[in-house]
């Protein structure tokens, strides 16, 4: 079955004096797309808008699936809970029956998230979400707190997800790390202060 692209039509985001758009763009499903732009150009705002965290001031977004995996500027895990408690909570919200915790998290399963380093926390977020194969992932600088070997590990995970037909929209300042060309690149202009 051919799923429609995630399509932005005349989208405009207004946050105080910051304005992004209006612009239109199509993110092809089942592939990796990149949002590129300088700091403050609105990459995170656009991802938050796709996630439904902020409302667009004009335009439409079509083709978004019901469940989205998002990792980035906002946390995913409850900091006072253990990794395993967070995993069970995420599974429960997705209506999935108990599934085993990803094996790479077994060493930190009973650690409170607040006791984890930034890199470990990000690793826990990415491993938890990637193992669930959600239809769409919005990743905002996902690899920034990770070390080199972990970055390569998760890039391979992204490739594996793509082969399952998952759509990935991501921002990164480490574009050189990507081993294959993104299917679409949305270039955001420098921020317009009205």
């Amino acid at each position: 079955m051919n799923l429609p692209n995630i399509s932005l039509k005349d989208l405009k985001i207004q946050l105080g004096v910051f304005t992004l758009g209006p612009f239109s763009f199509d993110f092809p499903v089942g592939s990796l797309s990149l949002i590129r732009g300088a700091n403050g150009s609105g990459k995170t705002s656009l991802l938050r808008c796709l996630l439904g965290r902020i409302r667009q001031s004009a335009g439409h977004i079509n083709g978004l699936p019901h469940q989205i995996g998002s990792v980035g500027s906002e946390g995913l895990l409850m900091t006072s809970w253990t990794v395993e408690q967070n995993w069970n909570f995420i599974l429960g919200l997705l209506g999935k029956k108990t599934e085993p915790l990803p094996s790479a998290l077994s060493l930190i399963r009973s650690k409170r998230v607040s006791h984890l380093s930034l890199g470990q926390r990000r690793k826990a977020e990415l491993l938890s979400l990637f193992s669930l194969s959600l239809p769409l992932y919005l990743l905002d600088e996902p690899f920034s707190p990770l070390d080199q070997s972990e970055r390569h590990f998760f890039l391979n995970e992204l490739k594996a997800l793509k082969t399952k037909g998952v759509t990935i929209i991501m921002t990164t300042h480490d574009e050189d790390l990507l081993t294959e060309k993104p299917a679409a690149i949305l270039e955001l202009p420098r921020s317009i202060q009205s």
Partner: protein, 211 residues
Amino acid sequence: MRLWILLKKDLRNLSDALPPALLLGIPLILIIQFANSSSEAQKIEWKTVFWITFFISIVALLYRSFGEEHRSKNFQIYSAFKIPKQIIFISQCISHALSLFIIGFFYLWLSILFFSPSMTDIPSMFALLAVVSVCLAPIGTTLGLALQVEREFLFPLFFLPLCTPVVLAAESLSIEFSRPWLSVLLIFGLVGAFLSALVFEFFFDELSQSL
């Protein structure tokens, strides 16, 4: 299913707020008992002491509505998994009502220990406590949420005057049954739940989008 998962989450998060709420009232009961007049005519009724302690103590619990999510900055999970706001609201109300009842239950037994009242009043006090907990939960949930954005310290200033009708109704009903006070309590509960549900989404978005 999702309601059950959210309810478990809320109860777990509120369990951190229970100990302060349970400790807050103990000095209050001790002070009132110590300062209480020995003359029967001027003595403060134990039920009055119980309600004062209860209403002061629950502030420590209610002002933390969504405190854990606010600290963890993880509101995105609700929009990412398209969780309806009504379910989030209902889950918070149920968990708050249960927690309020637990706090009241604790102070009721503590009052019995300190004041040795007649045991015949106790079942009706538990029933009244259950009604009061349900009446206060929605308004406490929404007010705690609304004041979460750098305004937590204002919670008692808003909450205590707002729940004065409930304090008066609870105190009067615990002394003798009165239909008008019961109406006050039930109308407060219904109107409070309706208004809280109405504005919940606005304050939820305000808090979650302020991150």
